[in-house]
């Protein structure tokens, strides 16, 4: 088991390396560097001014040198003030040092966000916290509801309950967040006026029922249908097993058969699906957070991409790899506990 986890962690590091190289390559394409220079100087700055800014701030160094600097195996160079010839910090808003120093990922430094004008860690971790809260509520709403729907639909296959619930699940799964989000906002915020159509105040003044319901609802609805369908399929299969018939024959009530005998076995498949929802939620938040202006991970990612915020984008990719692979690791381990037949070699 231990070597299995170790191997998985090794794969994670390798994936992070590969992904950051790719992202680093993309953010250093010429139009993207130009975009960065424009946002940092002035939108109508001339070619020469943009070039001079890029050179002065070290963006014209060799690709591998710069990747090495970000990684922490090469020293980051300070800027040289052209007037005095003295070394000055590159980005003062991140308190970068005024001498050459190893300050990269290996030293625990995520770098400096040029868009938000703070260090990446200072921006990204609160954003992750905010997304964590959102994810928690989405999960807290989505998992119980979808399991309930799935079990209710699956325990008596082909009945009217089954058909109705299946129909509803398919509809919600077939509606992407950017459609349902708009519909919900129009209904609950504009027409009825019950809820706040923007979650901007959630980050500033705290989460309330009014400003947080719509984002949670929009994300949960989509997942509910999907998990419910999986649970139903698994439940239907379990209900046809021999041991369920045996349980019925020995005179157990239907409810006790479902709860005591069918449920545990029926939950193995949904468990994987639920764990798969974590990486999905991470991408789902991009749309929902931008739509409702909730300042979480997805919002930071979008803003970083729009402004070619190099260090922030690299930080986001690391986090994404970690979340995806880590949740899969947990689900693999959890599997072994739920189903003793599966043993890790």
């Amino acid at each position: 088991m231990f070597s299995f986890i170790l191997r998985r962690l090794g794969v994670m590091v390798l994936t992070m390396f590969a992904l950051t190289v790719v992202v680093f390559f993309l953010v250093n394409l010429e139009p993207n560097l130009k975009k960065l220079a424009i946002t940092q100087t002035e939108s109508r700055a001339t070619e020469e001014q943009l070039e001079s800014w890029l050179t002065r701030n070290g963006y014209r160094q060799n690709f591998f040198v710069r990747y090495g600097q970000w990684l922490g195996v090469m020293p980051k160079q300070p800027n040289i003030d052209p007037a005095t010839g003295e070394a000055v910090p590159r980005f003062r808003f991140c308190d970068e040092p005024s001498e050459a120093a190893y300050s990269g990922l290996l030293q625990g430094e995520f770098g400096c966000s040029t868009k938000f004008r703070v260090s990446v860690a200072e921006r990204l971790f609160p954003a992750l916290g905010a997304t964590g809260i959102l994810m928690f509520w989405v999960m807290a709403v989505m998992v119980p509801i979808s399991l309930l729907i799935g079990v209710l639909a699956g325990m008596r296959e082909g009945t009217r309950t089954d058909r109705t619930l299946s129909m509803a699940s398919i509809t919600t799964t077939a509606t992407p967040e950017y459609v349902s989000g708009v519909i919900f906002t129009v209904i609950f915020a504009s027409w009825l006026g019950w809820l706040n159509g923007s979650a901007a105040s959630a980050t500033n003044t705290g989460i309330t029922f009014s400003n947080f319901t719509l984002p949670v609802m929009t994300m949960a609805i989509y997942g509910i249908g999907y998990i419910a369908r999986m649970t139903r399929a698994s439940m239907v299969e379990v209900m046809t097993q021999q041991y369920i018939r045996t349980a019925r024959l020995k005179g157990l009530s239907f409810s006790s058969v479902v709860i005591k005998h069918a449920l545990r076995n029926a939950l193995i498949a949904p468990f994987t699906v639920i764990m798969l929802q974590f990486p999905w939620l991470l991408t789902g938040v991009v749309i929902v957070e931008t739509m409702f202006r909730y300042q979480g991970f997805g919002y930071a990612l979008v803003e970083g991409a729009a402004n070619n915020d190099i260090d922030l984008l690299l930080g986001c990719s690391l986090i994404s790899v970690f979340v995806v692979l880590f949740t899969q690791l947990i689900s693999d381990i959890g599997y072994a506990y739920l189903n003793p037949r599966i043993r890790v070699q």
Binding site: P31, K34, K35, A37, I38, T39, T41, E42, S43, R44, A45, T46, Q49, L50, S52, W53, P82, A83, P89, F91, R92, F93, T114, K115, F116, R117, T185, A189, S190, G193, N196, G197, S198, A200, S201, T203, N204, T205, S210, N211, T290, R293, Q295, Y299, E303, A306, N307
Partner: protein, 550 residues
């Protein structure tokens, strides 16, 4: 040499002559007010000279102290003010860092951090006197040396994106890229004298522009970053600054604002993103008291919420310009055909819901003091087709590029639709705002927005003179350059107007731009807010704002 001091109740003779012209109906009132104030008249005096009372701002109730005003506005990354390329960026700093001159909603210029200025007859020498009572939040008094420090910063060409360089005119030494030796001298503790090599009537108007905020001498030691160096002269001091979220100010602790007592306990700017419906929600749920701007399509919705509406006519505009270094736009007939194929009134209706004033395909607005009305050129599809056929470009497919900002996109769509109606082949390309600006001066045919400048000559000098950095049309016309240079130096308004008529006509005839309309801008506020105005250049100054039942 005679100097004319603002608020000094003494103005050059040509201003007196101009006042007579206003009374006789030969000169526009707005033109006179802007000009008279540049040459030293107070608002009261300027109005008095043309026989009108000074418009009193509504003082409907006794101001009450307290409360935190919350304003919805984009919060972009803070920059060194001289690099600010969005009014919003300057607005987030403006509550603490202040401008020298204030352009009033009545289209006059008033001293702000300056107590007064004096200008000589031919606009080559300016004497600027600072307010002796102005104090920085760290306790330092504001002195002439600080003003020198700021003038030097504004003239520094080596700073990438320093847009103040263009505004400083001949104060900059083009060879060294720094302030010209001896061009600005300290007269006494609070007075600086500036000598220009050429007459420049736009010097004072430029000081009222949004990037022109005065910073403390230690500003650059902290990386030219306002969030690190929070020392300002304004009514508020910065508490926190979170990009894309919220900026929090509180009333300055020492209570030493030169403008007097500040009623608000503090003010906040809150970012709700680009979707206007989020602002509606914010008003509905009481999260904000006022907004920075209401787009025309949301005016009725905002009015319906029981909010008060402000509006201002501006010279904010957008131009569909061709770049003459690209074929077939090197041919004037093609460019004129594009102009003739479009009815500007229809573009204004579709682009900004009629919230504006129709433009005439040259870059001087009716609110500009030097505006000369040219004969109207109506839409003429047949003539447009004939011109294209003559130029051999009848089958050419044009591509009109714009950014994805709503009113840019809608205006572009409206122009393209009109051209299509006229039988001209045209394709639309909409680029995201974040990439559009990468090549904005190079597109063959695209839309560019221009912000408000108080004088008509200002944008002309920036964007249409040969070889200027912002000349996006690649157009170069010797006659235009000469006439504009002349206009920039003529002080007498009537005389300048005769040149301006030609300048406008050359620009219009060249066909390089379709300028469909001049925008009106709007904002909304809750009825409990007082003194919240719509500034024509969208500057937000909250020092005099107060809240009822705070």
């Amino acid at each position: 040499m005679t100097f004319f001091k603002n608020n000094g109740n003494k103005v050059p003779d040509h201003i007196h002559a101009a006042a007579e012209q206003v009374k006789a109906g030969g000169l526009d009132r707005r033109e006179f007010l802007a000009l008279a104030s540049v040459f030293g008249a107070s608002a009261a005096m300027a109005y008095g000279m043309i026989g009108l009372p000074t418009p009193a701002r509504a003082q409907d109730a006794e101001p009450t102290k307290g409360g935190v005003l919350k304003v919805q506005m984009f919060i972009k990354a803070p920059k060194d003010p001289r690099l600010a390329d969005w009014t919003e960026i300057a607005n987030t700093m403006r509550q603490s860092l202040e401008a020298l001159v204030y352009y009033t909603p009545e289209y006059t210029f008033e001293p702000y951090l300056l107590e007064s200025w004096e200008v000589n007859e031919d606009a080559t020498e300016y004497v600027m006197k600072l307010r002796p009572e102005a104090v920085w939040t760290n306790g330092d008094p504001l002195t002439a040396e600080h003003l020198m420090f700021n003038l030097t910063r504004w003239c520094d060409k080596s700073v990438e994106g320093n847009s103040m360089v263009a505004r400083m005119g001949t104060l900059v030494d083009q060879e060294t890229g720094k302030i010209r030796e001896g061009a600005a001298t300290i007269v006494d503790d609070h007075t600086v004298k500036v000598t220009l090599t050429e007459p420049d009537i736009s010097f004072i108007p430029n000081l009222a522009d949004y990037p022109c905020l005065v910073v403390h001498p230690t500003f650059d030691e902290d990386g030219s970053d306002f969030t690190r160096n929070k020392i300002g002269t304004g009514p508020f001091q910065l508490e926190s600054f979170a990009v894309g979220e919220r900026v929090v100010y509180k009333r300055r602790e020492d209570g030493k604002w030169w403008g007097g007592e500040v009623m608000l306990d503090g003010c906040e700017f809150i970012d709700y993103g680009t979707d206007p419906s989020a602002a509606v929600n914010a008003f509905e749920s009481g999260e904000v008291h006022a907004n920075y701007e209401t787009t025309p399509d949301y005016l009725d919705i905002m009015d319906g919420l029981g909010l008060e509406r402000n509006e201002a006519v501006t010279s904010i505009t957008i131009v569909a310009r061709t770049n003459v270094t690209n074929k077939p736009y090197d041919d004037q007939r093609v460019r004129n055909a594009l102009q003739l194929g479009v009815d500007n009134a229809v573009v204004m209706q579709l682009g900004v819901d009629n919230a504006g004033v129709v433009g005439e395909n040259h870059h001087v607005a009716p609110i500009h003091p030097e505006y000369v009305e040219l004969p109207k050129v109506p839409r003429d599809v047949e003539k447009a087709k004939a011109l294209l056929a003559e130029a051999g470009a009848a089958d050419f497919e044009h591509e009109l590029i714009s950014s994805d900002e709503d009113w840019h996109k809608n205006t572009g769509d409206a122009i393209a639709a009109q051209l299509r109606d006229a039988g001209i082949k045209i394709k639309r390309t909409v680029l995201p705002g974040s990439t559009f600006w990468n090549d904005w001066t190079k597109y063959p045919y695209s839309l560019t927005n221009w912000t408000m400048r108080p004088l008509g000559v200002q944008v002309l000098a920036l964007a249409y003179r040969s070889g200027e950095a912002w000349n996006e049309t690649g157009w170069s016309n010797k006659e235009f350059d000469e006439k504009l240079a002349k206009a920039l130096s003529i002080v007498d308004p009537e005389e300048r107007k005769t040149v301006m008529g030609d300048v406008e006509k050359i620009l219009q005839d060249s066909g390089i731009i379709i300028l469909p309309y001049w925008r009106k801008v709007y904002n909304h506020y809750q009825p409990v807010v007082h003194n919240y105005i719509q500034h024509p250049m969208q500057q937000v100054n909250l020092g005099k704002v107060w809240l009822e039942e705070a």
